[in-house]
Amino acid sequence: MKKINLGIFEKRVKKKIKKAKNLKELDEIFKEVFGKNGEIKRISKIIPKLPKSKRKVFGEKFGRVKESLMEEFEKRAKELKEKAEREAEEKEWIDITIPPKKVPIGHYHPITIVRRKIEEIFQSMGFEVVEGPEIEDEWHNFDALNIPPDHPARDVLSLGKTFYLKNGGLMRSHTSSVQIRYMEKNLPPLKIIVPGRVFRLDAIDASHEIDFWQLEGLMVGKDISVANFKAIIEEFVKRFFGKEVKIRLRPSYFPFTEPSFEVDISCIFCKGEGCSICKNSGWVESGGAGMVHPQVFKNCKLDPKEWQGFAFGFGMNRLAMLKYKIPDIRLFNSGDLRFLNQF
């Protein structure tokens, strides 16, 4: 009878396992070793023939070898399987440069996007969002705002700039009318913004519209000041355009505010160095503002000795044009999906 060295057997099989190149080869080796007529079977057959003294030791050793070989097979099988998967994955690929499939989605109008941003900023500072009618009367659009008939500003605004309706009434030429409507019904302290459509008779071109959007703001209290206005409005433009934007106030004239200012913002395109958008001045005009004129308070039955505050009006189309570099105001009302689908 041939003497069996279990150590050599173990080494030989392990070497074979290592050499197996794929699962199929490994499977064949497995059959040779653990199969019906495999080596293990053959070895186990000789155990009973061994002398009793050796049988126990040999048997135990044989058991360990079987276990070890089984582990080795499993380990190698796992390795080969992973290798096979890796190779398969490497063969499969997609051309990621193929243009994306179009997912049908809707779009908000840029004015809506701008409006929401504005409302979010002001609401976080405690301002209420208010709306008012688009058909107005002369009192709310003019007289109450300290623009009586015969006032030069009244003629400028009413004769050349305001749409009148055939059966009476007019289209509001600014959202300032809502200041009056709100103050007639609410007592200070108050903080409101009014986003809305306004209408001006004009020749429509790249920078003039007859139907566009304004943002009105009003804050009234016991001691609301120019310094307060500057803080609120700078906070607004910073949050709206980005941190580095600054504001400056220039003297201006509006019948319903005193003092009155123009609000300029540092040019967001050239950062104040001068470009075509800011006409090389480094500043872009963005709105009018001022401290509410005492006569306006009186017209709303509020005592100007008791209350003071600021009001402002910004062009929302202009804010959107600056934010998104839109060169032509006519695009907003165009209904052109090539424009709207970009937002």
Binding site: P104, I105, G106, H107, Y108, H109, E119, Q123, G126, E128, V129, E131, E134, I135, P152, V156, F163, Y164, L165, G169, M171, P189, K191, L201, D202, I204, I210, D211, M219, G221, D223, S225, V226, A227, N228, K230, A231, I232, E235, R248, L249, R250, P251, S252, Y253, E258, P259, S260, F261, E262, M291, H293, P294, N333, S334, G335, D336, L337, R338, L340
Partner: protein, 665 residues
């Protein structure tokens, strides 16, 4: 308005900052300088003088601003008018003011030699964009640019009976102006007339006949203060704007007329020779005196939000020409017609001190959370739902053309604009639909499928309302119905349904909708909107290639009915049993009727009935409807026997109806 840098410099001994720097200073403290242009050795500043500051419609006025901002002293004036004692003005001329004039001052200058102006006069006029004509006219213009008072020179000998009358024109009166244009005057036009006819359009333009020519010997120099409203209205009426009318329209200081008349008479006698008659004819019934305003330092501080030292405040006001006494009563010079109340003074202090020196300070106010505006909330909500369902939001014009109004049959309800921008914008829109259809027209060549909506005001019968409307292209009624269904459910509205529309004969809807393919959207029996296919007539008129289904909803009603309240409903944890049924019914039977029979028979055992197929055979007069019936109970598993019994009952009840047949498999 154009200003010469060199001219401004001439008011100061001290050298002014360079033009760029000066422009910046003026922009920040007074008026925006819109441009600087080099002109020979001079620079021309284009200054946007504010309309309430007519005192600055002049070089002297701007110089006074510069003096206040920079603290530079203005030069003393050094001219003296010499009059001829032997020529007393009242012996030669007379004036009569009937209306439209606060002050009318006149000087007479004899033996004038009309000719070309000296170069320095011509240069200054040209630099401000005024064409030199002759020395007399040029000096009148020069003084206007210098002091802001428009003047007019008449050829005295051409004035009939040497009498000046200020009055409104009579019907039918005409005038030929200096530039050979003829104007028909009317009752609203203020004129200067002699005893016979108008010789000038007051404050706007002079007449040709009494104009200065080379033969002119005696000049009547008019320095007047006309009613701004009369001049403004006249200027608009005649469509004639001049440097003079622009100044008068905004209102001038009546106390300026005399100074300007004297200054011009002085320059004329110096440049054109001649003798200035003694005295001035002066109509000035109500002398304008300086206003007095009490200044409270605390108010200055409270309104500007900064502490400015009292001395600084006083200095600013003094440099601007205000006088202040110990009790802080401020006397406002009459040329500052814009300063009427304390706040006006505070503006002067603030702007000269510099708004840039006011530090930002957040207001201290009560922590009152802003009120929620439900209409805006629901507007945003609806936009979110529709955009998430693939719609693009548009904003269309609030205006429609007459053609649109006629196409849609809106003649009765539409509001017309008195003064439209053009025929395209002649009416206010009574509906959002026309705008949306025009959007399809514009986009249909670029986009196959269009899904758009708008929320905006519509205007009908004197009233405005917020509306919501949208459309999709293609024959997709049920898709749009599904969208409305989703939208309303998301808004917390459950008690809505779609109803057939029973049109009344006069309804304009007829021309918009294809009535048999349209439905009313009803909530609790009330119509809130409409849904349906757009009529062929409209599609043809707007050359729309595809079909359109649209919806039109009264947004205000919708927002009122919407609710954020929503309650979780526990779902059944027991298995559901689905049985399919196919029913053959006559073609005119409504799906709803079939579903009602199923529901009424076994409603308690059924969770849902789902129509999954409709099949209509062309030649047959019946259609086949196939439903999934989902049986499920909340509190226990449903028994197979219960399902079987219910199903049999359903089949029985369906087949009770004449001509209904359940298909047996």
């Amino acid at each position: 308005m154009k200003f010469s840098f060199n001219w401004l410099q001439s008011f100061f001994n001290k050298k002014l900052p360079n033009p760029e720097r000066l422009a910046e200073v003026l922009t920040l403290h007074s008026f925006e300088v819109e441009g600087i242009e080099r002109l020979g050795k001079d620079f021309i500043l284009d200054i946007d003088v504010l309309p309430n500051r007519t005192d600055c419609y002049s070089h002297f006025g701007i110089a006074r601003e510069i003096s206040a901002i920079l603290g530079f002293k203005l030069k003393e004036e050094k001219w003296q008018l010499k009059e001829d004692k032997n020529l007393k003005i009242e012996n030669f001329a007379s004036i009569k003011v009937i209306s439209g004039c606060k002050r009318y001052s006149v000087r007479l200058i004899f033996d004038v030699k009309v000719g070309e102006s000296p170069d320095w006069v011509k240069e200054r006029l040209e630099s401000c964009g005024i064409k030199p004509i002759n020395n007399v006219v040029d000096i009148a213009n020069y003084v206007m640019l210098e002091l802001g008072q428009p003047l007019h020179a008449f050829d005295f000998e051409k004035i009939e009976k040497r009498k000046i009358i200020v009055r409104f024109a009579k019907k039918g009166e005409k005038i030929l102006t200096l530039d050979d244009e003829e104007y028909n005057l009317g009752k609203e036009i203020l004129v200067i007339a002699d005893s016979k006819k108008p010789i000038a359009i007051a404050g706007i333009k002079g007449g040709k006949e009494t104009g200065i020519s080379e033969k002119t010997k005696i000049i009547l120099l008019e320095s007047a203060n006309f009613d701004p409203v009369a001049i403004r209205r006249g200027s608009i009426k005649l469509d004639l704007k001049t440097d003079a009318s622009m100044r008068f329209s905004h209102g001038l200081d009546p106390n300026l007329t005399e100074i300007a008349a004297n200054r011009a008479a002085y320059l004329i006698s110096k440049i054109c020779g001649g003798k200035v008659a003694k005295g001035i004819l002066d109509y000035y019934p109500e002398k304008v005196l300086p206003k007095k305003i009490k200044l409270e330092i605390e108010k200055v501080e409270s309104l500007l939000g900064i502490k400015i030292p009292k001395e600084k405040i006083l200095k600013i006001l003094k440099n601007l020409g205000f006088k202040i006494n110990q009790k802080l009563i401020v006397e406002v010079p009459t040329f500052r017609r814009d300063v009427l109340i304390q706040e006006d003074l505070i503006e002067e202090i603030g702007r000269i001190y510099g708004y840039d020196r006011i530090e930002n300070k957040f207001p201290v106010s009560a922590l009152v959370p802003p009120k929620k505006n439900p209409e805006i909330f629901w507007e945003n909500f609806v936009k979110d739902v529709l955009v998430s369902l693939g719609f693009t939001e548009v904003y269309n014009y609030s205006f429609l053309s007459k053609e649109d109004i006629e196409n849609f049959g809106f003649e009765e309800e539409a509001i017309e604009i008195e003064n439209p921008a053009s025929a395209f914008y002649q009416f206010l829109r009574p509906s959002l639909i026309p705008g949306l259809i025009k959007d399809v027209q514009k986009n249909q060549n670029e986009f196959k499928e269009i899904k758009i909506f708008e929320i905006g005001k519509i205007f009908k019968n004197k009233k405005e309302k917020k509306a919501l409307a949208g459309l999709i292209t293609g024959e997709r009624f049920f898709e749009l119905k599904g969208i409305i269904d989703t939208l309303l459910k998301r808004m917390g509205i459950s008690n809505f349904y779609f109803d057939f529309h029973e049109p009344s004969p006069e309804e304009s809807k007829i021309s918009i909708w294809q009535i048999k393919k349209s439905a009313e959207i009803k909530i609790d029996g009330e119509e809130v909107g409409f849904l349906g296919e757009i009529s062929r007539k409209i599609l043809e008129k707007y050359k729309i290639k595809d079909k359109i289904v649209a919806f039109d909803i009264d947004f205000e009603k919708l927002a009122n009915l919407a609710t954020e309240e929503h309650e979780y409903e526990p779902f059944s944890i027991y298995p559901a049993v689905v049985r399919d049924i196919s029913v053959l019914v006559p073609k005119d039977v409504l799906v709803e009727d079939v579903m009602n029979v199923i529901e009424e028979t076994a409603g308690k055992l059924i969770r849902d009935i789902d129509l999954f197929d409709i099949y209509e055979e062309l030649e047959e007069d019946r259609k086949s409807l196939a439903f999934h019936i989902i049986f499920q109970l909340k509190d226990r598993a449903i028994l197979p026997k219960e399902v079987e019994n219910a199903f049999q009952k359903i089949v029985e009840n369906l087949e009770k109806k004449p001509d209904w047949e359940v298909r047996k498999k």
